[in-house]
Symmetry: C2
Subunit: 129 residues, 2 copies
Amino acid sequence: MAKRKQAVGDRISEAEHAVMEALWDASPLSAADVCDRVCAANDWSIPTVKTLLSRLVSKGAVGTEPEGRKFLYHPLIERSDYVGGESRRLVDRLFGGRAAPLFAHLAENEALSDDDLAEIEALLREMRK
Amino acid sequence: MAKRKQAVGDRISEAEHAVMEALWDASPLSAADVCDRVCAANDWSIPTVKTLLSRLVSKGAVGTEPEGRKFLYHPLIERSDYVGGESRRLVDRLFGGRAAPLFAHLAENEALSDDDLAEIEALLREMRK
DNA sequence: CGTATTCGATTACACCTGTAGCCGTTACGA
DNA sequence: TCGTAACGGCTACAGGTGTAATCGAATACG
């Protein structure tokens, strides 16, 4: 059985996503740890991070464990699930669910590096088999 | 710190995007025309569409021309610009700006049809030249 | 033992978004 | 000509989001 996915309507916002990234990168972390990792980049203060963490907890995206008297936070959803969901949403909304036009767009705008191209070719060859 | 004035470059929300799609599909259109094209699908009423159109106008994404007593609305931004911008935002946010991981994700989740694969291969061949 | 500190929890608040109602003007049909 | 339907413009309002201050309990330090 697949693990519980996010409920519809409990979308993770962009600011919350930055916090998730920190937790995916390393977990469990305390609120202060998370702040160390994201506050500077986003110009946030600690209360902001705490709010975002609370919201993520109430959305079921992050879980807590007590460590002494504080909490440690850890992700409850997989990054790949989130990323996959967001990607599919974009492809559905902008490209009628087809990935090829997205690819074409990235290609047209030179958003594809040589490395990207090589990697994609490798993936294609892989899938071919 | 004062709030910034709305200018070209404000983000288009999801609901607004649906309206933009109608205008990209055919323009100029009256508010009623737009409603004909999007109200049923989104379960909106005409006032909703009018609000969305106004917001798009104030965001500089849609322009108006008087047609008799009404207005006709037409897009001021190109669909490809919007789509490209959104795509790049996603790739930046989720994949560190690299398209290959996005591609890998779509591939892993079987979000790529055979047609997609064939098309992407063709594009790659094209770019190789 | 009492006080400063440290957390999480609660509260705040303005802006954005989705969704829609009401109002004043006006063109058109009776 | 007069009422009325149609339109655009303004208003509304709840829920989400970004951003943060404050409160109260637990703790560590002196």
